[in-house]
Symmetry: C3
Subunit: 401 residues, 3 copies
Amino acid sequence: MHKTLLAGAVIAMFSGQAAAQSWVLTDTQGTEKGDWRIDSRQLKLSGEPFTLEQQVLHGGKQEGSKVLTLTSKNGLTIALSPTRGMDLLHVNGHGVRLGWDSPVDEVVNPAYINLESRNGLGWLEGFNEMMVRCGFEWTGHPVTKDGRIYTLHGKAGNTPASKVEVIVDDQAPHEIRIRGLLKENTFKKARLETWTELRYVPGADSFTLHDVLTNQADYPHDYEIIYHSNFSTPILEENARFLAPVKSVSPFNDYAKKGLENWQTYGAPTKDFDEMVFNLQPIADSNGKTVAAVVNSKGDKGAAIEFDTRQLPVLTMWKNTDTLKQGYVTGIEPGTNYAYPVTIEKEQGRVKQLQPGQSAEFTLTYSLLKDASAVQKVEERIKTLQGETKINVEQTPIAVE
Amino acid sequence: MHKTLLAGAVIAMFSGQAAAQSWVLTDTQGTEKGDWRIDSRQLKLSGEPFTLEQQVLHGGKQEGSKVLTLTSKNGLTIALSPTRGMDLLHVNGHGVRLGWDSPVDEVVNPAYINLESRNGLGWLEGFNEMMVRCGFEWTGHPVTKDGRIYTLHGKAGNTPASKVEVIVDDQAPHEIRIRGLLKENTFKKARLETWTELRYVPGADSFTLHDVLTNQADYPHDYEIIYHSNFSTPILEENARFLAPVKSVSPFNDYAKKGLENWQTYGAPTKDFDEMVFNLQPIADSNGKTVAAVVNSKGDKGAAIEFDTRQLPVLTMWKNTDTLKQGYVTGIEPGTNYAYPVTIEKEQGRVKQLQPGQSAEFTLTYSLLKDASAVQKVEERIKTLQGETKINVEQTPIAVE
Amino acid sequence: MHKTLLAGAVIAMFSGQAAAQSWVLTDTQGTEKGDWRIDSRQLKLSGEPFTLEQQVLHGGKQEGSKVLTLTSKNGLTIALSPTRGMDLLHVNGHGVRLGWDSPVDEVVNPAYINLESRNGLGWLEGFNEMMVRCGFEWTGHPVTKDGRIYTLHGKAGNTPASKVEVIVDDQAPHEIRIRGLLKENTFKKARLETWTELRYVPGADSFTLHDVLTNQADYPHDYEIIYHSNFSTPILEENARFLAPVKSVSPFNDYAKKGLENWQTYGAPTKDFDEMVFNLQPIADSNGKTVAAVVNSKGDKGAAIEFDTRQLPVLTMWKNTDTLKQGYVTGIEPGTNYAYPVTIEKEQGRVKQLQPGQSAEFTLTYSLLKDASAVQKVEERIKTLQGETKINVEQTPIAVE
């Protein structure tokens, strides 16, 4: 049930006892808000103050790109872009930044990107997010099959959201939900629709992504998804550590073999390092839940991602500790897949499929670890999950591109 | 002669005794109207009331797309998109809809389409029109020749109109003309300009397209055009029929061979049907005129297209009676060509050419058949045109892609 | 040092004794001006009156393109497009036009261009400038290497400027500077940033381009640049002449061999002429400066480009004296390179490289030659530079594509 409370924007939704106000920022059926702003004071909500603000960017290749920023004074500031598939640009709180500095310093409007350029690497002309969804039609490194390029990491991250809405719970602690609908619809080829959702309680140090991918077609459709989550300074630094409970690790390719020995430790920005990628099989608890994290050298800052291995069975760790100007960054990438081309992933049986009308859900909780205590808590949980299991360090890549 | 009557928009044009008001909605030389509206009441015109309204769409990949809608209360409502080559989106009247439901449910701005993607099938990411011009540099299925992709169905349907104007006849019955200029101009490659025109008399059940393609270059230039006209429910249904006077029918490919027996009858939405395509040679009257139609099972609803075989000598019938969600639809496609790749069409001599400065005209009248009487009238005309001519049912495709 | 004088736009800059006002028209960090205008009267500046005006264009494929026009009543009118890489569209003064009439008659927004289309010739769908920067990642004819297309003339000319500012000197003669920042930034591939600058003193018949290209990456990066400068009527005509002091001329390909005999003289618009290209080695003075020009038959109109052979060692002369409708035009193209594909240029050692953080500067002065005296002056300078040096006319192209 929907009931309009105020002209234009505010709607109350009652589902059981829950009541909330909501704002439609974009709707292909009619609504479009450009620059827009609400805040807790104006809404007369008590508790942790927050602001939600949308801006339309201009200049360069970001002409027309929208950025929606959720600011919580004592918690996190989260910036995402509806124009770029609801990707998370960066998150800040307690002096810690989740995100990185890409040479791409604009929020590039997909209208200016040709994903097929550079032999399928056009995605790199817009890549600078803290979290970009790599999917859903396909993901992974580009490959040409039967004359067709499966471009790097798919199209979701460069798909403007067809619908964007913000929902604020009437009841304390006034959870905020930012929802966006991504359509990968092509006649005869795909009808994959994803409702992305970000949930945040003002003042908290964590937020949750809850995405629902539905195959709206009448035929089964393959899908792949990697949550490409990227962190740099001030967390990433010399002797920063990667933490995750894993059964096995294998090098993505020959170059990564050289980094196997200390794969869980990061180096300082290093010229000619380029990137090493490691394929991981995570260990989960009895509910399928696991967590991976990157923490700084001192162990008093970090980022953790909790995810569900029933939804996202594998984990890619991307060590791109090249120089700062090249984009010093590490990726923690829960996925249905590794980053091999879709042809290899298919061959090796990791590509999933949705039946007609079927949905897949993905729930990930991102935490900013603001101090030693927060880091320690995650580290202990990971230790517990690892338990007595020895990490099987495989020396040979499972595939060759 | 042009004379400004009112500031800004209204111009009187006198050509012989004809006088009309006109509005320029888009002109690369200066004018640009976004949201815009006129109606017969405001213009103080008697007779059938009408409204003309332009809207700029937002959200998803339709950001910035314009839709111009002509509404005639007792006749038709016609929606077209200047941003998408003056394509007709859908037409409605008397409870009948001309058009279909594509999985692509946005009016996709060509800025978000890469026609070369998917090995030349990028056009499918925007395809949902009731009528899309497939041409004019080339049309048909994609083919790569000398490293270059001739993309599916050419560029016209994804070319934003450079000039758009609306003209309303001063005299009853106040015929409305909507004109749009499409430029396929590329240095050293093409200078093909098309003035598209839609003519409609408020209250009528028919409208006419009158397009003039001109080769503005100093060299001869090949062209191809298919008027890809698409119909679904409530006309298309089990036992709906395709009607046209034809000399011959041949299957487009091996799969269509299986459908030759009952090629003129449609099935209900059928899983795994995919599409069958039939190449037809229409029979025309002494003036070159012919007509093709699709009518529902009961014979009381339909759509007919009258065209000129001197302009558009061949006819493609596209039977895409797959499930509703996949886009249950049939195409009636008068053209200079069949839908084979341009290389094959060229080889088989169907590709036309324009000399420098030469124009080609295309006139098609679309009728919404609202009742049994309207259907019967078209059916009788087709019967007459067919006369004693027996349909030559060829068993073998004339070409292999 | 920056100091705000007036709210919003006007800033005074003091560097030594120089003071100026400046306006930011575009800045990805926040500022965006659409339609905008200033003039010398409003600024209360004495001397030659001038106007600076920005317009946002609409319609066709120029939707959203910006054009910035500098008008000096007694000097030049210079139009450039921030959306198209600060390219110069056309320059007019004293009844002489620098520029040409391309079949592409819109200022095409790069959002509507796929540079990879037509097997790497997509650039031709937007080409109509008086001066377009061909670079900087690569330039020249397209070539596919390792599955990747190096598209015709690179991306700079189709890169919307990330920052645009206008600076007007406080002191007479109130030199105007129009600056634009182009970013060719792609993760792992390039971090080339170019500050383009156009300097013009109101009333003058010349303007200067001063571009600074910087490799912002931590690795060396190749670059190429050709200043593709194009002239037509009223300068180009039968018996118009190309003037430049050169050591040698060689035909670009076999077709150009046929034109070697009278390579410095132009024909009237000629059907089937297509294009001939000549590679030239310019002779410079002791400071590296040289000049090339095209002058009309009578020798009383022309265009000259002064450039620095230490920055731009080679010169391409493009003779495209086909018919008017095809784009009757000649290109005078100082560059680091000839127009061969980057693979050939690399092989033959003409591709330059920038070390991390290193910059390259390019300074070119364009002059409109308004009368016989202006033409004569340039001709004499060229004669002096040529001196006793005989032109080595090579018969064989130095490379085969």
